[in-house]
């Protein structure tokens, strides 16, 4: 492939708005994702105020929610459920799927495999614009009469199907479904593009066994998304029919608001099977890119090859495969056949094996390294801690017999927020600090990065560690207050502590937001390869050029992890450096 540079003048619109350049699209995903993250975080802080100080009046609640949803500064119970629902939806889909995968798949896939751009720039552009439209609709749904969707982010019917059941299941739910449908389209357009690009557009010498782990993780993530999101689309479509066209796929024998509905033969459990057939791969769609990003950052900043490169790839593949046959572990107490529960317990616990391999490999990578604590590295190490600390409680929850008593309690909330929420958020931050120079040509402020990291990790554990105990006491999630259950009165103080840590964590994010904006405008200019990294993205010029490399595409001669290799002058050898005579390629033997 020869040099192929676009010298034609680009207008403002084609460069910054309807851009087909993957680097610009990645920035668009990032900024949209961060705005959504801010909204999602604000929502959680608002309902934490209610949970920490039940029934007390807060001006800030009234400021954000108005007299309708927070009269006299006290949160309305319907709005509480709406906030919980929207927080979950926004964080899972718009931040940790769209924001995380969208940003880093777009930025890193072409750059790290040595491609000029994505396979289809146009599809890529559509993917972002669908994402933006979905985001706008989701945010807009907060402002409709009756409030946004309030049936939990899992939108189980009949609650989500019947506007009589909860006000949020009116127009708010309709907008939720429209937004998610568009989101799914965005995700599929993106995912197909990622797969095709990784499979077809790798540069000369970039064998699959030389790919950085980020790319492996993003590839498997894209495959999971393409296989599972259509199922959510089907589930949502049937729900639309039930809501608007009088069908009863999910509804049966219902009496509500003084009248029996004319529905029969449907099954609410069917929806849950369909939902979790996406929903479970979805948590790996969130966590796999996180693990890929952290592998890359830990190796680079430990100045050591990632330990067990092949085992890391195999565990990504194993997790990806297993994620499709574990969905019903969310449904042990739905009344589903208990024999099925046994099978899903087995498959779910199998995931612990590749996960354990990953955790041990991270530890061994750090072991005897030469650790350089950039803010990105701090977050990557924080990720290993959260991934392990949250992951192990999964062993308890995967056991159907134990899940009986922990299902839908705060124990579950603590588990998934640490293992999937925090880990993925940490990876997102790690990725932003690490690849900010690649995106904006500037370096982020290190000192503010430290402040951000310590506030975030203290906030994360401060919020979620105590919640395990609430769960062990049998406290259900999504309770607005516990006046009817004085058996939880002894947790009043703990709830306050949790809320205080939530506020600390939230403040930390403003430090990040500030640093992000400050560094874009006032940050120090980056050199070409600031972290002395091996991967191809650091062989491109700091100033973005269309087509990524001004001259010919680079040729790859080795794997991505030749850090501190004996016999080399420097402690890193970029992938483009040919093998010395007699030197072996570590990824391929």
């Amino acid at each position: 492939m020869g040099a192929h540079t676009h010298h034609h003048q680009e207008s403002f619109i084609t460069k910054y708005v309807f851009s087909q350049d993957h680097k610009m699209i990645s920035k668009q995903f990032l900024v949209t994702g961060l705005v959504m993250a801010l909204v999602g975080m604000l929502m959680s802080t608002l309902f934490r105020l209610q949970l920490g100080w039940q029934g007390e009046s807060f001006k800030i609640l009234n400021f954000f929610l108005g007299d309708k949803w927070a009269p006299d500064g006290v949160l309305d119970p319907n709005m509480y459920l709406a906030l919980v629902t929207m927080h979950g939806t926004i964080m899972v889909f718009f931040v940790l799927t769209g924001g995380l995968s969208g940003t880093f798949a777009n930025l890193l896939i072409p750059l790290q495999i040595g491609a000029r751009d994505m396979a289809s720039g146009f599809m890529n552009m559509l993917s972002y614009w669908f994402f933006l439209v979905a985001s706008i609709i989701m945010i807009a749904s907060v402002f409709v009469q009756g409030g946004p969707a309030s049936a939990g982010w899992t939108i189980y019917p009949p609650l989500s199907a019947l506007p009589q059941a909860i006000p949020g299941s009116g127009l708010g739910m309709t907008l939720w479904l429209i937004s998610m449908t568009i989101f799914i389209a965005s995700s599929l357009l993106g995912g197909l593009n990622y797969i095709v690009t990784v499979v077809n557009l790798r540069t000369i010498g970039m064998k699959m066994t030389r790919l950085p782990l980020t790319i492996w993780a993003l590839l498997v993530t894209a495959i999971l998304g393409v296989l599972s999101f259509p199922v959510l689309f089907a589930a949502a479509l049937l729900l639309v029919f039930d809501r608007s066209f009088g069908t009863s796929f999910y509804l049966s024998d219902i009496f509500i608001n003084g009248a029996a509905l004319d529905v029969s033969g449907g099954s609410p459990v069917l929806f849950q099977h369909l939902f979790w057939f996406l929903g479970h791969p979805e948590v790996y769609i969130v966590i796999l890119p996180a693990l890929g990003i952290s592998s890359e950052i830990i190796a680079t900043n430990s100045r050591k090859p990632i330990f067990g490169y092949r085992a890391m790839i195999l565990s990504i593949l194993a997790i990806g495969f297993l994620s499709f046959i574990v969905w019903a572990h969310h449904m042990f107490v739905t009344g589903m056949n208990p024999f099925l529960g046994s099978v899903f317990t087995f498959t779910t616990l199998l995931i612990a094996i590749p996960s354990a391999v990953k955790a041990f490999n991270y530890l061994t990578t750090i072991y005897k390294g030469k650790l350089n604590f950039t803010p990105a590295m701090l977050f990557a190490i924080g990720l290993v801690s959260t991934f392990v600390s949250g992951g192990i409680t999964g062993i308890i929850l995967a056991d159907a017999a134990l899940d009986i008593n922990l299902h839908d309690t705060y124990f579950v909330v603590a588990h998934f927020h640490i293992v999937m929420g925090m880990s993925a958020v940490f990876a997102m931050f790690a990725g932003i600090y690490h690849w900010f120079p690649k995106m904006y040509g500037k370096l982020m402020n290190r000192k503010l990065g430290y402040v951000h990291f310590w506030l975030t990790i203290v906030g994360a554990f401060g919020v979620f560690l105590p919640q395990h105990f609430l769960g062990l006491a049998g406290a259900p999630r999504r309770y607005y207050e516990n006046t009817a259950f004085p058996m939880f009165d002894d947790f009043v103080e703990l709830n306050e502590i949790v809320s205080i840590f939530a506020i600390i964590g939230a403040i930390g994010q403003f430090v990040f937001m500030f640093n992000f904006l400050y560094s874009i405008f006032r940050g120090q200019r980056s050199s070409q390869n600031p972290w002395k990294s091996n991967t191809l993205e650091w062989t491109t010029p700091v100033e973005h050029v269309h087509g990524n490399w001004p001259g010919a595409l680079p040729t790859v001669h080795r794997w991505a992890y030749d850090y501190s290799k004996p016999g080399a002058d420097e402690d890193f050898i970029p992938q483009t450096v040919p093998l010395a005579p007699g030197e072996q390629d570590e990824g391929n033997h």
Binding site: L159, F339, K370, F373
Partner: protein, 416 residues
């Protein structure tokens, strides 16, 4: 005033961040440094930070255990619940060990191998033996946990398995072995992955056959007492079968006035059903089978003290069974419960609220609408004698619906 203060704090925070950033920039420029190169002093600080964080994490964890472990659920008040607790304790021990060990390793490594303390990193790309060890050790541990967990789970549900299961398992084992051994034309990785997975599942089905067989309770137990739990937004109703020990047929289309759970009044078995609200009783030592219905959305019948939970699904009655082993009175005297309620009452006194006593509860544990958090029913575990006495005081459907309706019923029946 508060508004003014809030805005001042926000502005101050932004200004201070600007200054922090500017100062950092200036010192860096003075020293000729680069944001990308972390100075050794800062590396040392971060390394120390991890150790301080680790100590803080474990200290707060120990504090949480001391303060709040006694506030968690007391011993299980049901037969199967005791087994769940045993399984839970083993799991908790292992999980805690892993939590502590891995976090210590992580943070100590972070401290020890920080850049300033090291000349050069070791080049150590992989070690198959090590990787095999930490694949096999978790696998063995998981095999134990899975077997034990499934034994408890199958025992609770009395899952019946027949020989087709192990035959199928054996079939998978043989097929898997054949794929690995015979299909030499396939790429080794694919052969081993596919064959290995089939063998893994084959082994699972074979062993599950024996696990489930052994968990079946073969002793002839007495007929369980059947109680219906009926869920709707936002309360629970319990229905007892009455003198004939049979719940009458019911459907939401029969809901009418006082007949709130939709009993078909043409079904004679339903006329003596007793409907209770707010609180229901069950006898100690007698197996109880709950049939759970919902009339509107999904609810979840959660009785944490009995380690029992199942969803209430409209259109699909679900069920669960347990044998209560501790009466309400006995549980009130329980050491852990007493301490918990002492603390609760202290807190309530401070807030000027009435003291409360321990009660078993049925909660709704599936988001079901605005006042989901109020949906509860108290449970009283009585001695069998007290239970009989209480039950005899509950009104039957006929009594609830009143004489005029009853007359109407008889007329209807006569017409048939």
């Amino acid at each position: 005033m508060i508004t003014f203060l809030t805005y001042s704090v926000i502005i101050l925070a932004i200004v201070s961040m600007v200054y922090l950033a500017r100062i950092a920039d200036l010192t860096r420029d003075l020293k000729g440094g680069n944001e990308a190169d972390v100075p050794q002093s800062e590396n040392k600080q971060s390394a120390l930070g991890f150790i301080i964080f680790m100590v803080g994490l474990f200290a707060s964890y120990i504090w949480l255990i001391q303060e709040y472990m006694p506030m968690t659920l007391p011993q299980a008040a049901s037969e199967h619940g005791a087994k769940i607790d045993g399984l839970m304790n083993i799991n908790l021990i292992v999980v805690n060990i892993v939590f502590v060990v891995i976090n210590i390793l992580l943070f100590v490594f972070a401290f020890k191998y920080e850049s300033s303390k090291r000349e050069k990193a070791d080049f150590y790309p992989h070690n198959n033996t090590l990787e095999l060890i930490w694949t096999i050790i978790p696998s063995i541990f998981l095999a134990v946990i899975i077997t034990w967990g499934l034994y408890v789970w199958s025992g609770i549900h009395q899952i019946k398995v027949d020989s087709t299961l192990w035959i199928a398992g054996l079939g998978l084992l043989i097929t898997g072995a054949a794929i690995i051994g015979l299909l030499k034309n396939l790429v080794a990785e694919i052969r081993v992955t596919v064959g290995g997975s089939l063998m893994l599942f084959g082994a699972f089905f074979c062993s599950y056959f024996f696990i489930a067989k052994n968990s079946i309770n073969t002793e002839v137990s007495e007929e369980p007492l059947v109680i219906e739990l009926y869920a709707r937004q936002f309360d629970w109703t319990a229905r007892y079968a009455g003198a004939d020990q049979k719940l009458g047929a019911a459907h939401v289309r029969y809901i009418d006035g006082a007949n709130t759970v939709g009993i078909n009044t043409e079904d004679k078995a339903g006329l003596d059903d007793q409907i209770v609200r707010n609180e229901f009783h069950i006898p100690k030592g007698k197996p109880v089978r709950f049939v759970i219905r919902s009339q509107d959305v999904i609810h979840s019948a959660y009785m944490p003290h009995f380690r029992a939970q199942v969803n209430a699904v409209p259109g699909m009655p679900t069920s669960m069974s347990f044998t209560p082993t501790i009466t309400t009175q006995e549980m009130r005297a329980d050491e852990k419960t007493r301490k918990k309620y002492e603390k609760i009452n202290k807190i309530r006194e401070k807030r000027g609220e009435e003291p409360i006593e321990f009660n078993y509860v049925l909660l709704c544990n599936k988001i079901c609408g605005a006042t989901h958090y109020n949906m509860k029913m108290d449970i009283v575990v009585d001695t069998p004698e007290d239970y009989q006495k209480w039950l005899s005081e509950q009104k039957t459907l006929t009594e609830v619906l009143g004489p005029s309706e009853e007359a109407q019923q008889e007329e209807n029946i006569a017409q048939l």
